[in-house]
Subunit: 488 residues, 2 copies
């Protein structure tokens, strides 16, 4: 279950003062809560590519070299997507007879060759891109929703989102798809992998009528409440079918809360610094809960440094499959953590675009580069760290610290406010260890072919497969590729 | 159980990432957690005076008129203290045959007439002031620890605190006092009131040897761990004696975490704005847990707007006693909240010194004055909001907003970052309601005689009662009163 832009501080169990997530909190109480779980990139597409490949975006191609250290993703005009050379989790699970379904946002490319059913999934209900809009279908087409190979309609036309009220019933559709899929696999006695990638907490945030106005937290909170309710229903479904003890469930988010959309359409990363788009803790530390009655004991809290990439390796391990050995896999197998409460030593690398910005080893985090966003963007009101300013840390220039990394202790200072003095013994000891780990990492790093460099309005969702049946085909403009511009 | 400078974000159950408070978290799981519980002032002395009188500092005299909107407390040179005209909780409980003990910090004045045994307590083990020092006993005497009427030694001499390592065994002494007192009352079959006012989390922060270095969070976390362990032992003691179902236990803190001492000696107020000394949420919203097996159902979360002053009224109610009717009491009886899960409508007033800075009604909070501290202090590095700057909110001048209060919605915006537009319908509606409540409040407000205006080095703890037996009497200087200076 992958949340979209949901922050560490959005769940009651993680300290959200409104405490409006009884089902997620119960899931946590019945399972294992991770306090130190990370995404692989503070933006949707690369994070999702990493989850499904077990590899950093710099390896699987979900980055750009158009500009230094800038996040890139898959808007409609992107030409690239997930390369055929990448091995996705569902492709491997197929070998063990799993039926694989994605519900919700794909975001690994929307052109034909990137379609999820070309990369291991058997079923799909959802959209290839973010639900932005409404568009005019002239300059920009409205985004399609797919069922399997074909589109079945477009956002704002066939799948309404009321931008004014925030009303949309999409989470209900995604819930129904999940329940139905689980029920069918249970009936057929088939093992299954459900990738439930809902996006109600990504701006424009939405909730269905029943949930509108039910939160203390405004529309964003309404969306969270609906998701919480849906997760409760899915877990109850597993229990009612008697397959909870056979089903490993993991919930996390693809990146930190989008503080630029706060407070009405953005969540909370408290107590961490900044949010989505940044490599501070607020951009990359995620809520994460593992649930598997009978296997994962209730009421556990793990400080294991985890990553969305570990879900790849761990899922393979739990399915009795091996990980690919012809390539670097960054995800580790968390099953000893989940099943035996062990802790595995491993670093966390914080990438933004083509640059390794920071590294965490133990409780120490070293920033080699700091950047929130440019002064130009900031002057326009785009603020990834609203209300937070740490001199020399939340910089508005890409500031290099490679010669003397900025070091923080995330135990004493989870908010990255107090750099450790360079002359201290603590600094010397920690940096030495970190630098040696970085050196090893860089020695083995072979960047993949960057997929997010080229844009072309001709590749937009003008005429997705199935459009003809719906009379929803639009005429694309002539191809005119350009080097995509990534502002941050 | 009153914590000192412990912040909302310091407990696992409130989202502290290190999650090092298993006993407090269990207490919360077995009882009721308050998300919206407040102190009456963001500083020790006035907060404690309010807890024991059920009245705002502006009424009970724990404020200053020496300067506008400045916090005052009871350092050694203070002449004032708790007036005889105030009725304290233990004085009333005595009428119902309760035995009352204070363990730890009193802070309501250290001169003879302010002694806790003169104000309703039967026993005392602790100190009248904060454990600052070490002093030279020439310019400033080291602070005394009392057992009942007499001092039994001084900090740093007889009760060591190693300022370098943070080692001190005081929490262990306070724990022993609590366990012993409870055991004795149980043996005598006497009802009791234990006011366990420990101060290990107030700078200089300390922990005993066993706990030093055990936290991810440094010395501050070590202190929290020791307190957590002690609370666990006290609750276990109640259960072992079979009196848990007869004992109402409440844990809260006297003010928000002291961010000026962070990260090594200060806690966390995440996700709230600023800390101790301020009337932002970080200064006044407190962790609060009620525990009473058999009476308060397990696993509850209450959004009741609560106050330390409610502990006065609620305790009286639970003891079957009435509240005084000859004076204004600001605390309300929370027993319907605790025992029946009800919610009681009531405002929260945020005072700083002699000024009502802000008011909360429902989820709206209106600031009539904003101030962090002066530019002069700020320039010296004294920062009550480290890393946080909200333009027009965390002001370094005392900024008046009485004509057009700054309004926040604490549900959508617990961090007080996004003032609501003055022209919005939400603003108009909320402000009208708030202004009418403020008008009522001010109509009934008769400020008490301010107790914290006059200082005199002659009143310091030179020769507390009992000093002669210990040969620890010091010679006071001649009396030379002055108007105390309160910098913030
Ligand atoms: Ca996202
Ligand atoms: Ca205090």
């Amino acid at each position: 279950m992958l949340m979209d832009d949901m922050g560490w501080g959005d769940l009651g169990v993680y300290g959200q003062p409104a405490r409006e997530t009884p089902n997620l909190d119960r899931m946590a109480a019945e399972g294992m809560v991770f306090t130190d779980f990370y995404t692989a990139n503070p933006l949707c597409s690369p994070s999702r590519a990493s989850l499904l490949t077990g590899r950093l975006p710099i390896r699987n191609g979900f980055y750009t070299t158009n500009a230094h250290a800038r996040n890139a993703y898959t808007p409609q005009e992107i030409v690239g997507g997930i390369p055929d050379s990448e091995i996705l989790l569902p492709e491997l699970l197929k070998k063990a007879n799993y039926v694989n379904k994605i519900v919700g946002k794909w975001h690994l490319g929307h052109r034909a060759q990137y379609h999820p059913l070309r990369h291991g999934f058997d079923e799909w209900f959802g959209s290839p891109n973010c639900h932005f809009g409404p568009y005019d279908n002239k300059e920009t087409p409205n985004l399609p929703l797919y069922r399997n190979m074909d589109m079945i309609g477009r956002y704002y036309e066939d799948f309404p989102i009321d931008i004014k009220t925030g009303e949309a019933n999409l989470t209900q559709l995604y819930l129904k798809e999940a329940l139905n899929f689980i029920g069918r696999q249970h009936n057929d006695d088939r093992p299954f992998f459900l990738y439930w990638a809902i996006d109600a907490t990504h701006a424009p945030v939405y909730a269905s009528k029943k949930f509108l106005g039910t939160s203390q937290r405004g529309l964003y909170g309404d969306a969270v409440r609906e998701i919480d309710d849906s997760v409760g229903q899915i877990l109850a479904h597993l229990q009612n079918l008697g397959i909870a003890e056979k089903t490993f469930v993991f919930l996390t988010s693809d990146n930190g809360a989008a503080l630029i959309s706060a407070p009405n359409e953005g969540g909370s990363n408290a107590p961490f610094l900044c949010g989505k788009q940044t490599t501070f803790e607020g951009g990359m530390r995620e809520p994460a809960i593992a649930w598997w009655p009978g296997h994962i004991s209730a009421g556990q809290v793990s400080h294991q440094l985890g990553s969305v990439m570990d879900l790849f390796t761990t899922s393979l391990s739990l399915a009795g499959l091996g990980r690919p050995h012809d390539r670097e896999i960054d995800g580790i197998d968390l099953s000893p953590v989940l099943l035996q409460g062990k802790t595995i030593d491993r670093p966390v690398f914080y990438y933004r675009g083509n640059e390794m910005m920071a590294v965490r080893v133990g409780l120490h985090k070293a920033h080699f580069w700091t950047w929130s966003n440019s002064w130009e963007e900031f002057a326009q009101g785009i603020d990834f760290c609203p209300g937070q300013t740490i001199s020399g840390v939340t910089t508005h220039v890409q500031q290099e610290h490679t010669m003397l990394p900025l070091l923080f202790h995330l135990g004493r200072d989870p908010g990255e406010k107090y750099p450790i003095r360079v002359t201290s013994a603590e600094y010397q000891g920690a940096i030495q260890q970190i630098l040696s780990i970085v050196q090893q990492h860089q020695k083995r790093m072979v960047p993949g072919e960057p997929q997010l460099n080229v844009c072309d309005r001709a590749v937009m969702n003008w005429s997705p497969p199935g459009c003809e049946k719906l009379n929803k085909c639009l005429t694309p403009p002539a191809s005119k590729p350009w080097k995509c511009s990534w502002p941050h």
